[in-house]
């Protein structure tokens, strides 16, 4: 059964594993113990003690915080109940002018701001940009991911949540 050390997975997640080794991991049979090892890698990375239940993005995790399960930034900022859209509790910068779009696309073709805007969702505490939406003006903010946490742990991981 394929398995990797926590150190190897930490380097993989950080994009620091040499490419030939990364390539071998991509091509090999998947390691069945990956999930909890990777959670442990992330747990070492965060400054807080609440146990991580599920990574949801690069710096965003669902964790057990007392009786609650919340979406939490790596810096510790809470976005509230994990079943609700964390973006609604974030800070936002909207780029809907040519000038604002040019800051990100200095020489490239850009959209017509009348047709499309960029929404940057930012942690209000540490300033990490967690997600960028490109949407037509007026488009509702999307709730990216509603994991079936109970089903995942109970039926796929075989462990109680």
């Amino acid at each position: 059964m394929t398995s990797y050390s926590k150190e190897v997975l930490a380097d993989l997640a950080a994009g620091q594993l040499p490419w030939p080794q990364t390539r071998r991991i991509m091509s090999a049979y998947k390691d069945d113990d990956r999930f909890f090892k990777m959670v442990a890698v992330y747990q070492d990375r965060v400054a807080w003690k609440d146990p991580i239940l599920l990574p949801v993005s690069d710096h965003l995790f669902i964790c057990q915080s007392g009786d609650e399960r919340i979406t939490r930034c790596e810096c510790g900022h809470s976005f509230g109940d994990y079943r609700k859209n964390w973006k609604l509790k974030a800070a936002i910068i909207v780029r809907n002018t040519e000038e604002a779009l040019r800051e990100i696309y200095p020489n490239s073709d850009i959209p017509d701001p009348q047709w499309m805007e960029i929404r940057e969702f930012i942690c209000p505490e540490c300033g990490t940009m967690h997600e960028v939406e490109a949407a037509a003006p007026g488009y509702p903010i999307v709730h990216d991911f509603e994991p079936d946490l109970e089903g995942f742990y109970r039926e796929w991981l075989g462990k109680p949540l």
Binding site: S57, D112, Y139, F145
Partner: protein, 734 residues
Amino acid sequence: MLDKPASALRLRERLLDSERLMEETGCYDGITELTLRNQDPLKFETLHTKLRAYCVSAREMARRISASPGVREVGEMVVAIYTPEGDAIALSNGIMVHVHTMSRFIKWMIKNNYEENPKIREGDIFANNDAFIGTVQVPDVMDVVPIFHEGTLVGWAGAVCHELEAGGITPGGDVCLAQERFTEGLFVCAEKIGENDEIRRDYVIRCERNLRMPIYWVLDEKAKVASCIDMRESVQHLISEIGLDYWMKVSKEFIEEGRRAQLARTRQLTVPGIYRGHTFYGHVTAGKPGFQLLGDPDWLYNIPIEMEITTDGKITMDFEGTQPWGYHSMNCTPAGMDGGMFVTLTQHMNFEGLVNDGAWMATELKLPHGTWTNPDNEMVATATSWALLLPAYGVFQRLLSRGFVARGFVEEAFVGQVNSPMIEMGGESQYGTPFGMAHFECAAAGSGALAIADGLDTAYVGWNPESDMGNIEVWEQSMPMVYIGRSIVPNSGGAGKYRGGCSFVSTWLINKTSHLRLHTSEHSSRVFDNGGMCGGYPAPTCQKHRAVRNSNIHELAAKGEPLAHAPGIAPDVSDYEKNIGGDHVVVEGPYITAPHKSGDIFSHSYNGGGGYGDVLERDPIKTAWDVENGFLTRQAADQVFGIILKDDAEGYPVADIDATIKRRAAMRKQRLAKAIPVSDWIEAERGRVEKADFAPEVKKMYASAIKLSSRFTKDFSDFWKVDAKSIFMPGAKP
């Protein structure tokens, strides 16, 4: 368990029986136990490996028969072996999108009682390129031949090549001007085109008289038939070794195992739950020549996708809320949508074990009737269905990648494929002959980023996992143009901790022709259609074409003056305008205009991929390398990524780490100072929504989505706390 030898039932009954068994047992053809696999797993695996080898070998042989650079150079071909009922057992590498579309073609013939008329006999050759029967678009021409063993139909061999010219209203295959089926080109609607292993002469005559460049189509037919016969003979030889009953059972067990493998793969790599995402496609046609007045000009399409992964591992993709079909060429059919699903699964989840139609059976597509995904009118055009299909399945890749990230398999997360606009042309060739063809270097765009690395530069499209732009000389040999530049477009990958793959731009001098028509298709302009992920930005749009008519390039060359080989990095003034004299033209979005002639210059660029992660985390050292090699500009490194570069003694850029740390800290502060709570933004934006203070195309998009989808209407209304119907469809019943 399976207990059916080669059945005496007629094909149609066998197919219906198979579908009923799947419905009743949830297992393919009612196979609830993998008996043969359990009895002798090594024999089972070895047989499947043999079948796959037959397919790969047949495809490689066919590529050497084909005359088309699209097939020969770029590899736009796939072959597969099917059960008698038309389910794929094994397939080659190549354009795997068509494995399941061929399955639909075979099933369509069976359900339309081809066994009676025109009859299915040994040596017959059937062809199809009708997307409502089973393909994606007209240039994807598929051939299948039945496989018989001692008089019993035991399977099918099938092959698809993407043709470079389809005989439509504009030359090429992705016919951008097609607004109805009748302008898309030469349709072959599940026809018997050959008998006794020979393509009928009357069919070849029809091709010769209806295509601008029939040599490609006809030679590709021969290549496909050769590959089918090769696979047929291999399967027949195999059956003589293992016995007919074993073949009939094992071929179906392969498919059931493929179904189970897909479910297991989903359970292994993802997390159950609901995933959502969207993308957009913007097409600017108003005022452009050639478009008939059938529908509104200028199109803005929203493509929202809700994906559910259940705890049994089934993936369901729901397209509710997307747009209606239209009088343009970007509509798709359920066959095309199936193809998109199949090619994505085979690239991103099923890269080991058995890959066949079983993988597709572990998924479900919900394609709302009347939308571009499932038109309720079979007269619509589907010539550029990839325009919407590709961004849609780019979203699918991002949704799957969320699952991979959540599960810890970060090395599999991929920001997604990109739309890569195609250039097509026709008129008079450099040899003085009529011609028409698609330029297939679009098969090598920039990919989306990974969660651990930058995307692939100029090396990926979703529809061909072996993406290859082809050699310059091959294209020059076929078209009356010579390259004066093919280069990376700096900053064309979406910005992020890992940037998207960069695209490229080609610049040609039109040569030795007095009449060259140039058109582009799959060309989204005015909106991003390649999103980012986890804080990464979308890839830039790709909307401007630049041409110089009546250029003085020959005079400049004679004097040894500098030329321009690419548009350069100034957004408003291209290097062509700076360096070359003549009549300069800049066109937004799809290019369609009066014919060009020798001495004109034309440039066409392709798309890059979206970025992954926060830009302020990008590696400064890697960025210095990017700047040195032309993938990023110094301006972007500084302005977008907050990376300060200085020059070393030899003038090469190197990262100033200390200065970068300071600048990034300042940029982070600026972000926080500029950002507002989302709740405040929603409150402020609601007034604009209530007034529908949007561009006409945006309003039209909302009105049509609301008309078709009660769920979209509810979601929109709930989010903004408004009555969406009364805003966008005044007078509509509440």
